[in-house]
Amino acid sequence: MSANWSGFSYIAINLARFIRPGEITFSGVNSTLPMLACLLAKKTLDEDFIYINVAGGVDPEPSSVPLSSSDPVLAQRSASIFANEDFYDLCCRGRMDLTFLGAAQIDGEGCANNSAIGDWHRPKVRLPGGGGGAVMLPTALRACTWRTEHSTRTLVNKLDFRTSWGGFHGVVTPIATFIKRDGRLALDSWHPQASLEEVRERTGFEFDASTAHPTDPPTQRELQALASLDPDGQFERDARVSLR
């Protein structure tokens, strides 16, 4: 098996690398890549972590991997149902160790716009909205996001609308992984087929890259775990992630 990253494996596996043993980790609606990351980490981490999801599942054992990241199969073989009000309350009281949240635009502080492109009142594009974001981003202990497009229109200097404040701990794109440091997103590593210059060129905000390096290659275990979740490549095709 090749030890090279694809854009898809880069995002899924690097999101999974944010998951830590022992922690409560949540994935929600409209979040196929974080769902895959959580299922993947169950296979790649030797120690347990607590995986909860928007289908009410608590450490579920789904019989298949669904297209919809809120599908009820994500509660299969779960011994309890921890429903929407429960996981929001858990987050609000400061006990959500890690949550994954979507974002259309991300700024240098790691805040998110999920609401509109253009003026909110006269939007060029009305976006889905932030869902849990405005409450979860500032209250979760850590939150991570992903973008399948790395460009100056997704990673921006100024958000068109600030749906959620609080700052992502981690951001993964097809070519880069950012981690928050001193209140701003700093480049942690870049896809080995990209470069620091390319990441700078395609990012709308200034960032510190003083400790950045090419991302460590995927391990055999990570690649095998991802392949077992996506045996016929359906998720990789659907995600349509390209480096450029």
Binding site: V29, N30, V54, A55, G56, L67, S68, S69, S70, D71, P72, V73, A75, I81, A83, N84, E85, Y88, C92, R93, C111, N114, S115, W120, R122, P123, K124, V125, R126, L127, P128, G129, G130, G131, G132, G133, A134, V135, M136, L137, P138, T139, F161, R162, T163, S164, W165, G166, D238
Partner: protein
């Protein structure tokens, strides 16, 4: 009017259930995205030509989209709106907001829940954690209140949201209207507690004895439920766990442009076949 709904048999045909909802009513719709939504009820609202509705739901998708497509909606209160899976944005909802044909009150899911909790708890507002730094409070005129007991950070107060009806999809119901849900209840429970009345589309009618054997698994007690209909497949084209999954090809056909595609979709729905047979 008494506070509860009595009746030994609250089962009515779907048309009659939906006819109770007047133009301009506010509806909290159960389920989430394409999962266990009372979509047969939603389609019947369209068949009956309802207009001016206010839709309240943390994560609507197909339901708000088809109602916007039919021109039935005046206002939406929601946290996140999408078709999900590989379908992305909800196109008719998106157009309706962009053209300012519907009024959007954008929430975080938890702030909408806080508004529903305020109504359920009998108080004018409910504090909600988070939200600081977001542009949403200013947009919605939400006020932050100081903690009267300590010097902890101020908290945003979300005004009560009391829907006219909660419209829910039950996995099982008995003749009196006790409601059971398989899998996650999403926000159905708080919707039922916050609303003035509850209308239910049920997958299956079962004996009251089954509820009496396990009362702890009842999500909504009968006295909160005004009436219900039994509509097998009522969550189509979405899922109803564990009976059926999302019908992805049907969602795809729904998304085809044009009035004919909508008409064909409405005609193909499970409740349309049942209604045809009853004629």
């Amino acid at each position: 009017m008494p506070s509860g709904f009595v009746g030994k048999n609250k089962c009515v045909p779907l048309q009659e259930l939906v006819s109770r909802v007047p133009d301009g009513a506010s509806l909290a719709i159960g389920g989430s995205f394409l999962h266990r939504g009372p979509f047969a009820f939603v389609r019947e609202l369209i068949r009956q030509g309802r207009t001016g509705l206010e839709i309240i739901k943390q994560s609507p998708g197909y339901d708000i989209d088809i109602l916007c497509r039919a021109g039935a909606v005046k206002k939406v209160r929601a946290g996140i709106v999408a078709m999900e899976g590989n379908f992305g944005l909800a196109p008719w909802y998106r157009r309706a907001v962009e053209r300012q044909e519907v009024v959007l009150e954008e929430h975080a899911c938890a702030s909408l829940t806080a508004g529903l909790r305020a109504a359920a708890y009998g108080i004018p507002f409910q504090p909600c954690a988070g939200l600081h730094g977001s542009d949403l409070p200013a947009l919605n005129g939400w006020v932050s209140l100081p903690d009267p007991y300590s010097d902890r950070a101020p908290v945003y107060a979300i005004p009560a949201i009391e829907p006219d009806y909660a419209v829910l999809l039950a996995s099982e119901i008995d003749r009196q209207g006790n409601v059971r849900i398989a899998g996650t209840p999403h926000w159905d429970r708080i919707m039922s507690r916050a609303s003035r009345s509850v209308l239910v589309v049920a997958e299956k009618l079962v004996d009251t004895q089954i509820f009496q054997d396990n009362p702890e698994s009842t999500v909504v007690p009968y006295f909160m439920v005004e009436a219900f209909s039994v509509v097998p497949g009522g969550a189509w084209p979405g899922s109803c766990w564990p009976s059926y999954p999302i019908d992805y090809p049907a969602v795809e056909s729904y998304l085809a442009e044009g009035d004919e595609a909508l008409a064909a979709h409405l005609a193909k729905a499970p409740e349309a076949a049942t209604q045809e047979k009853a004629r």
